[in-house]
Symmetry: C2
């Protein structure tokens, strides 16, 4: 087998390929051997950049989580009623999802089998609490329907947002703003026309 | 190591354990060896029931898909406007999801790496077309907001429904009807109170 010249990898490009493979085959099912084959470099060349497969996962899910928490922090500074902060948080999270799609996709598939995965789940729960708190405030301010448990509402909202990873592709027809508009229109005002 | 008496398995109970393990560890990452260890029976005892791991997957995802298509068929018979058939389909799908939660969860994680997985994805796409068609009809009848592409609306609706597998547990506080009510309230009428 002849070997052509291969691209060099820095940590960033190595991580991008690793996350792609994790998403295709599953994190658990992917070995460092698989990554080495896919990258076209030796395992020790991978270990030059990262000490373990776990560390690749940690870097990847933190990329997603750091983005989401940055939006949550920004949302805290939005003046006005809580429902506006909630909408800001949803739109911002859709922005993170679109910009960091492979990372968010991987994050959402984490099941808690390792320490790194459990840490990621803990940060996801922390984020969920931020959302639930905003829903509670918006409900107390009379802007959100009071007939659904705020924790359930929060899960439905982010269930819808997270489900975008299953089908949304940035190179398709729908831009980020149109996507966020569609999601917010359905979630805030509903599908039904008010005749 | 002493071995206690183990339960016998029929195909049904074997499938239930296999699906649980697939959901915990990932289908790809689970070997027949893993299943044999978890079931506490030999691999040949498993092969007595099913010819392959693939066949276990096929049985499991068909359990979910058959349920969803049965609801779609039932929805076709619902008289009145399309939006009522759409709501029937969503409520019925939530019923299937709750009743067959491990099977639906597994179905939603299928990525198309094998022939069985690709067949499941093809059936999912067929189901999505049924939903899109209902959204289109409801929009044509003036009952659904016309400012969102019906295919996007359909994806958002079932994105929300499917996301229930991530957090809903039947033994929790929320019954199936309450769950369906909450989902339909948000999706059809929106989160915002109409002041």
């Amino acid at each position: 087998m002849t070997r052509r010249g291969r691209p060099g990898y820095d940590l960033e490009s190595l991580l991008a390929v690793a996350v792609k493979v994790f998403n295709e085959r599953g994190y658990e099912a992917t070995s460092m051997e698989d990554l080495s084959r896919r990258l076209g470099i030796t395992k020790s060349a991978i270990y030059y950049h990262v000490p373990s497969k776990d560390e690749l996962l940690r870097l990847a899910v933190d990329r997603a989580l750091d983005g989401l928490f940055a939006v949550a922090e920004e949302a805290r500074g939005v003046a006005g009623p809580a429902i506006d902060r909630l909408e800001f948080l949803i739109r911002g999270s859709i922005g993170v999802l679109v910009d960091r799609l492979p990372f968010v996709t991987l994050l959402l598939r984490v099941r808690g089998n390792t320490k790194v995965e459990r840490a990621a789940l803990a940060r996801r729960r922390e984020f969920d609490l931020v959302v639930t708190e905003l829903v509670k405030q918006a409900e107390a301010e009379g802007d959100v329907r009071p007939d659904i448990d705020p924790a359930v509402t929060a899960r439905l909202l982010f269930g819808t947002v997270n489900s975008l990873t299953e089908w949304y592709r940035p190179r398709g027809g729908l831009g980020t703003a149109d996507l966020a508009n569609a999601v917010c229109a359905v979630l805030f005002d509903g599908l039904r026309t008010t005749a």
